[in-house]
């Protein structure tokens, strides 16, 4: 924090902060904030930059050349990964896409119903229902996952797609976000007007409220997509057949085997590089029409 003390920006009345609208192009650049942020960006991008470069190295180059020099082995590494156990890597990728895509979609639906109900209606038990759902956030995942496994085992559902998909549909944070967005986006008098016109509650929700909630629901979907995609513990506990593994668990098992044979290091590194691409691409894509601030429940007044 001491870096701040050195910095005194000229205080021109009328200049607006960078956060509020574009800064005027005249005047000094605030050097210390800019440099601090750049250092932060370098720190955060460093491992990603490393994996991009390391994935181009052949096994020999990995241990012999300076890390930040690209190698010559990317095509070979890719081929090795493709042929590793008949392309099981791409099965993992597909599984992750399925778990995260379908899981986030279902989760968004449930969050939308619940958030809408909690925001628009006044009814007995509203706050206690909401608080009970939120308390779910506080449960350590392993505390839930162990008995979930035992219960699903009794239902004969462990080691199936369901065992990873179902426990992640209800997301307390998703319900919380959906409630905030519904409260901000759906005006009470619009709902009332719908009722005056004799529309059913379901029709008001699906035809009037849902379109208003879409920007918020995109956020719920993204949040949950990332949460499911990044989840490791639940599949780690639930699954034993690696045909159903998501990418996180697949890479982990690859690393476990590779610990004794450095020949597999290049596979792990190339696999890690490819595993990072989809989510980063997703964020860069939605950047254009979606603001990061929405993730923390910010609503434009």
């Amino acid at each position: 924090m001491s870096a701040l003390a050195v910095h005194k920006a000229p205080s021109k009345a009328g200049a607006t902060g960078a956060a509020r609208g574009r800064p005027p192009l005249r005047g000094r650049i605030a050097l210390i904030p800019t440099v601090t942020l750049l250092l932060g960006a370098v720190y955060c991008l460093l491992p990603v930059a490393w994996v991009v470069i390391a994935s181009t190295k052949s096994g020999r180059e990995l241990f012999s050349t300076f890390t930040f020099l690209p190698g010559t082995g990317f095509a070979d590494n890719l081929q090795d990964l493709n042929s590793y156990r008949d392309g099981v890597y791409w099965t993992w990728m597909g599984n992750s896409a399925l778990y995260a895509g379908l899981g986030a979609l279902l989760s968004t639906c449930v969050s939308a119903f619940s958030g809408y109900a909690l925001a628009v209606y006044r009814f007995r038990g509203r706050e206690s229902i909401f608080n009970t759902l939120l308390a779910g956030v506080l449960m350590p995942p392993v505390v839930l996952a162990v008995p979930q496994y035992l219960l699903l085992a009794q239902a004969g559902l462990t080691d199936s797609y369901w065992s990873v998909l179902l426990p992640q549909i209800l997301s307390p944070y998703g319900v919380y976000l959906a409630r905030i967005y519904a409260a901000a986006a759906v005006p009470g008098d619009v709902v009332e007007a719908g009722r005056m016109d004799g529309a059913s509650e379901w029709r008001i929700f699906s035809r009037i409220a849902l379109p208003m909630m879409v920007p918020g629901l995109v956020t719920v979907f993204l949040f949950q997509f990332v949460a499911v995609w990044n989840n490791f513990l639940l599949p780690y506990i639930m699954l034993s057949d690696d045909e159903r593994f998501p990418i996180t668990l697949g890479l982990f098992t690859l690393l476990e085997q590779g610990a004794n044979q450095p020949a597999l290091y290049t596979l792990v590194i190339t696999g890690a590089f490819l595993a990072v691409i989809p989510l980063v691409a997703l964020f860069l894509l939605v950047q254009r029409f979606w603001s990061l601030d929405l993730l923390s429940g910010a609503v434009k007044s």
Binding site: A30, F66, F113, L166, L170, I237
Partner: protein, 307 residues
């Protein structure tokens, strides 16, 4: 999956109908497992005879036996201490950095803000397992650029995956992964400060540093409390990173963190009753710690409001 049915009983029942899917899922995947874990934690298996045939293994009431076993288990206590030490590094450093970056983003005439904001946030999109894997390789002397440079300069090369440095190595992975999200939360609440406040501070001749310390930080205190609260919970539940580093080093045991021990007891040694008791203890400890923190934070706020 059920969807909310068209309600034939009008407005009165509508909210309950909308909440049916969430209620069913909550009952099946939250309430029932928690109840089952509590039930298991008070039971044990009694094997009669040679343990052969049906009925030879019976679940019997164990009272507090599993709990006393867990609490006197040095492995669990050590794991708890390890995670507390780790949390004492991660939470302050991560939130300190998140606050620093958020204030920098909010300062005047800062350049490249959109790019740096996205770059710092990017690790959020990297799974914890992959993050641990990437850093794990950067910690390995054979492949790490840091060690390469140190070696070329003839400097000593510390072993990052052992003893004290291991805590720093693990903490660094968590800080790297979590700073961006918390920065966004704090930055969002910074942006919600009305422009008049900034103008007033300027007219009074406050320096950016004074504005940050005396005006901005107090005004975003609620979001700091919230990020603290969630960071404490997330830190206590550390599992993925040490589990992923395990293949790379011998100094991460299968019981490094309490959650890892629960997993080992449930699936490694197959004592689900013991594992359930440990899980319940961890859940209670998490609740006590996080709510204790919230109460302390609220009391401070009230005192400040009163003074």
């Amino acid at each position: 999956m059920t969807t909310a049915r068209r309600t034939s009983y009008g407005v009165k029942g509508a909210p309950y109908a909308f909440l049916v899917p969430a209620a069913v899922l909550f009952a099946l995947f939250f309430a029932l497992p928690i109840g089952y874990a509590v039930w298991l934690s008070f039971h044990k298996v009694r094997v009669s005879g040679l343990g052969l045939g049906s009925g030879a293994r019976k679940e019997v009431w164990a009272g507090l036996e599993n709990y006393t076993d867990a609490l006197t288990d040095s492995e669990l206590v050590h794991g708890a201490l390890r995670v507390l030490g780790y949390g004492c590094i991660v939470v302050p450093v991560m939130l300190g950095l998140a606050l620093l970056f958020a204030l920098m983003l909010d300062s005047e005439k800062v350049r490249l803000a959109p790019f740096t904001r996205l770059a710092i946030f990017l690790p959020y999109a990297v799974p914890g397992v992959v993050a641990a894997l990437l850093w794990g390789f950067l910690y390995l002397p054979d492949v790490s650029p840091f060690f390469y440079v140190l070696g070329k300069l003839g400097l000593p090369q510390p072993d990052l995956l052992d003893g004290g440095p291991l805590y720093l190595a693990l903490s660094n992975i968590a800080v790297w992964g979590g700073t961006g999200f918390n920065m966004i939360v704090i930055y969002t609440s910074l942006r919600a400060i009305p422009a008049e406040v900034h103008e007033a501070a300027k007219l009074d001749g406050a320096t950016p540093l004074q504005t940050a310390l005396r005006i901005k930080i107090p005004m975003v205190a609620p979001s700091l409390v919230l990020t603290f609260f969630f960071s404490i919970i997330a830190t206590l539940q550390v599992f993925n990173e040490p589990t992923t580093l395990k293949p790379l080093t011998n100094s991460v045991s299968t019981t490094w963190s309490p959650l890892m021990k629960v997993h080992r007891d449930a699936f490694g040694t197959g004592d689900v009753y013991q594992a359930a008791a440990e899980a319940v203890i961890i859940a209670l400890a998490t609740l006590v710690l996080s709510f204790g923190f919230l109460r302390a934070a609220n009391r401070r706020n009230r005192q400040e409001a009163a003074s």
